[in-house]
């Protein structure tokens, strides 16, 4: 298909407290369902969206953390996390969820598409993307 575009979704907000993260996740799912080349970039408080073990039972919001794990099934190939944002919050890759990806036709597999990237890579990845949503 020739009209596939490279989409990047830039998430900078904490997962709960506002509706932004959930709405963004729904848009990602819809974009990916239409066969676009989709990646996610988490920066600033957005890195909390991929921290595992969240518990929303004391809040009024649905715990949508498990939904991020389905992004691989939707054909999202890359979930980037900004290194500086992660370190500033005292977090490491061990605190983040793992998301697997698999191509059913070629049986190519990637165990974890969550990847930590530094500032130079962030800039390069953004420049490569045709459409950036934030």
């Amino acid at each position: 298909m020739s009209d596939v575009k490279k989409f990047m979704y830039l998430n900078r907000r904490a997962p709960y407290g506002t509706i932004y993260a959930w709405e963004s996740l729904e848009v990602i799912l819809i974009g990916a369902a239409f066969d676009q080349e989709v990646s996610l970039m988490c920066m600033d408080d957005g890195v909390y969206q991929l921290v595992k073990g969240s518990d929303t039972s004391q809040s009024d919001m649905k715990n949508f953390m498990p939904t991020y794990r389905t992004l691989g099934d939707y054909g999202v190939r890359h979930m980037y996390v900004d290194k500086a944002s992660l370190e500033a919050r005292g977090l490491t890759q061990d605190d983040l969820i793992e998301v697997a990806w698999e191509d059913f036709e070629t049986e190519e597999e990637v165990d974890n598409i969550v990847e930590i990237v530094d500032a130079d890579q962030v800039a390069k990845l953004m420049a490569e993307s045709e459409v950036v949503f934030s």
Partner: protein, 110 residues
Amino acid sequence: MPIEVDGKTFETDEEGYLANINEWVPGVAGVMAAEDELELTDEHWDIINFLREYYEEYQIAPAVRVLTKAVGKKLGKDKGNSKYLYGLFPYGPGKQACRYAGLPKPTGCV
């Protein structure tokens, strides 16, 4: 329009999806299918149960393309294709099977 199953009333939204996923009982699927003049077979139940497990794990109803892929992985490649799934659920495997399973309308489903 609310539906009635074994004397109990279940609220639904304007498109016929169950208002509260936690209220679901297997009878709901039977009543909905009867309204569509469809008889549920074991093959239908495989898909309905699969969707409920998927929702339990990921908290969303999968888009039909994702459903097709995931069914192929779980139930075998001969079942992971649109022809097979549309054969079972002529109104669209995503919409119709999710409705029977008590799930919301799939995300990304138009």
